[in-house]
């Protein structure tokens, strides 16, 4: 733990938010959607740990339920990103030279597209939803993953042990499974945690703009948007969803940095 503080805190924070999300499936102090105008904007108390919002909904319950939306989004984005990005990356590296070139250019173009702009266009067409947000974010992050994967696989393909494997008449599938995937596993874990933190930030941003998760589903971005209208009366309500986003994103970032330190031997050497 002492040697890799990033990994330790990262795992703690991610585990904490995952526990909260799981907990919210089974139990929240109040129904997050229950409206109770009598206690609008109540201060934090023992019955409402973090107070209530303008409609009298319990902020703590909404925060818990929001973590579910956030983590499901992150999970979906990571799944789509990794499967799409890694297959494209490996496929591009293995294919003939001209296709490899085309792939590089197409990936570069997708990378240059601002993901949120793309999400805005998608939302304009299909109407805002968590699903459109997930698709838009995934495409953007998958391009980044594909680029890194392709580069790493290209290096590996020129290594002596891949040459040896080919000399032993291994087919491509076997080479990928036995020699390439194990070697890029570390970098894939790091990129997955990076994709998760990007997804959480992007989803909350889109929801804040009204282009992501739609009401009544609770989401941290929307909680912030609605609390902004009552800043003058009660600024504290705006604090909680922001802190929740920061610590979840921080958790995934630290996890990625920690994994990099733990899995990349060259980095370890230069640090000590």
């Amino acid at each position: 733990m002492n040697r890799n503080r990033n990994l330790f805190f990262g795992i703690c924070l991610v585990a904490f938010s995952s526990t909260m999300a799981l907990l919210s499936v089974l139990w929240t102090p109040y129904d997050p959607l229950e409206i109770n105008p009598d206690i609008s904007l109540a201060k934090p108390s023992w019955s409402h740990l973090l107070g209530t919002d303008v409609l009298g909904r319990d902020v703590f319950s909404n925060l818990l339920a929001g973590s579910r939306t956030t983590l499901i989004t992150a999970f979906l984005v990571v799944m789509i990103t990794m499967s799409l990005g890694v297959t494209t990356g490996i496929g591009a590296a293995l294919s003939p030279r001209w296709f490899n070139r085309t792939a590089i250019y197409s990936i570069d173009i997708v990378l240059a597209l601002p993901a949120v702009l793309f999400a805005i266009v998608l939302a304009a067409i299909r109407g805002p939803s968590t699903f459109t947000a997930v698709i838009a974010i995934s495409i953007a992050t998958a391009a980044a993953v594909a680029q890194v994967t392709r580069r790493e696989v290209n290096v590996l393909l020129n290594s002596d042990y891949v040459l040896a494997a080919r000399a032993c008449n291994s087919n491509r599938l076997r080479i990928v499974r036995r020699h390439i995937l194990p070697n890029i596993r570390a970098s894939l874990f790091i990129q997955a945690s990076g994709a998760a933190s990007i997804a959480i930030l992007a989803e909350s941003t889109l929801s804040y703009l009204g282009l992501g998760t739609t009401p009544p589903a609770p989401s941290w971005g929307r909680m912030l948007a609605s609390s902004q209208q009552y800043l003058i009366i009660d600024p504290i309500v705006a604090l909680w969803p922001g802190l929740a986003i920061i610590f979840t994103v921080l958790g995934f970032n630290l996890l990625g940095d920690g994994l990099r330190e733990a899995l990349d031997p060259t980095l370890r050497k230069s640090k000590s």
Partner: protein
């Protein structure tokens, strides 16, 4: 001996010039290619609407005659490719067409709104550079000391903070609590009352810059740490310069290269960030206009605005890459 030397230098010079031209040509092809691809993508996406643009404009209950008339008016009867080529040709000559709902000239509106968005982005980039480089260097000089680690930790936190939340918090502190700066809006008179304009851009620019500072700082820090380990740095120290002096002479320029290239890559983030910040502070810029058009489903205007914004992003990253090609010969050789 001297002759060989001069000859070698000439060779190297022509070689590097050729390199540079090739590099710029490659980069320019990518710029044009991505521009066409991106606008085709936006175009196609908007044509995938249920029904068509005429239907979207007039509603489901529109009469067939009215629909037909609108279709002719917007050229929707042509083939998709012809429509796209026409649109692209017009767009390249600066004509993005008219809004489907209001009939306003789209390019004109974008130029009008840019008088808010461009100063915002410019101010934020300047703020980001001015703060990120010294902070990164300071944290590198105090590498593994408490001060340096503290700054690195703050930057780690800064990356995790969502832009809009920073905006909301700044408004709470400076507009609601102390009431020294406006919480949003922009003077109707525009830049003729420039002090009012600057005042209403201060908080948005800080909001937009903070995330960038946190990001750029990390690159400035690692670049500086690298410089500190170089032989030329040790030589500079041995001539009697202090660490700070040596860094100012030899470090600033060397750590500037990665920072500028990252800022170039971040330009997309800055523009998207501007959309968010304009929303938070109710600034009448391009981003706010885009969000409004999305909510009222003005598809031709969304298409024009997104295409123009993407073009701006691509152009800036092309410019930055070209600049880096001049600054740093190593970057030309890659790929």
């Amino acid at each position: 001996m001297l002759e060989t030397h001069t000859r070698l230098r000439q060779l190297r010079k022509t070689d590097s010039l050729q390199n540079l031209i090739w590099y710029l040509a490659r980069r320019f092809t990518l710029f044009v290619g991505s521009l066409v691809a991106a606008s085709a993508l936006v175009f196609l996406l908007l044509r995938m609407l249920p029904g068509d643009l005429a239907q979207a404009k007039l509603g489901i209950e529109a009469s067939p005659e009215a629909l037909a008339q609108t279709r002719t008016e917007f050229g929707l009867n042509d083939s998709l490719i012809l429509q796209f080529v026409k649109w692209l040709g017009n767009a390249l000559s600066g004509d993005l067409g008219v809004s489907m709902l209001t009939g306003a000239n789209i390019a004109q509106e974008i130029v009008n709104k840019a008088t808010v968005t461009l100063p915002l982005i410019g101010l934020a980039s300047v703020l980001a550079l001015v703060f990120a480089i010294p902070l990164g260097m300071y944290s590198a000089l105090n590498f593994r000391r408490r001060k340096g680690i503290g700054i690195a930790a703050i930057s780690q936190l800064g990356i995790a903070i969502p832009t809009f939340w920073v905006g909301v918090i700044l408004v709470t502190i400076f507009s609601v609590k102390f009431q020294i700066l406006p919480s949003g809006g922009f003077p109707d008179a525009g830049w003729s009352s420039w002090s009012g304009c600057l005042e209403s851009l201060v908080l948005p620019a800080i909001t937009l810059a903070l995330g960038q500072i946190a990001m750029l700082m990390r690159f400035a820090r690692s670049a500086t740490i690298e410089v500190l380990q170089q032989d030329y740095f040790r030589t500079a120290r041995s001539t009697g310069l202090t660490r700070g002096q040596a860094l100012r002479v030899h470090g600033v320029r060397n750590s500037l290269v990665p920072v500028v290239s990252v800022l170039g890559m971040q330009i997309a983030t800055l523009i998207v960030g501007a959309i968010i910040v304009e929303h938070v502070f109710a600034l009448p810029g391009i981003g706010q206009m885009l969000l409004q058009d999305v909510s009222i489903r003005d598809y031709t205007k969304v298409q024009g605005t997104v295409a123009a914004t993407t073009a701006a992003v691509f152009f800036v990253s092309f410019l930055i890459d070209a600049l880096l090609g001049f600054l740093n010969p190593k970057s030309r050789a890659s790929q």
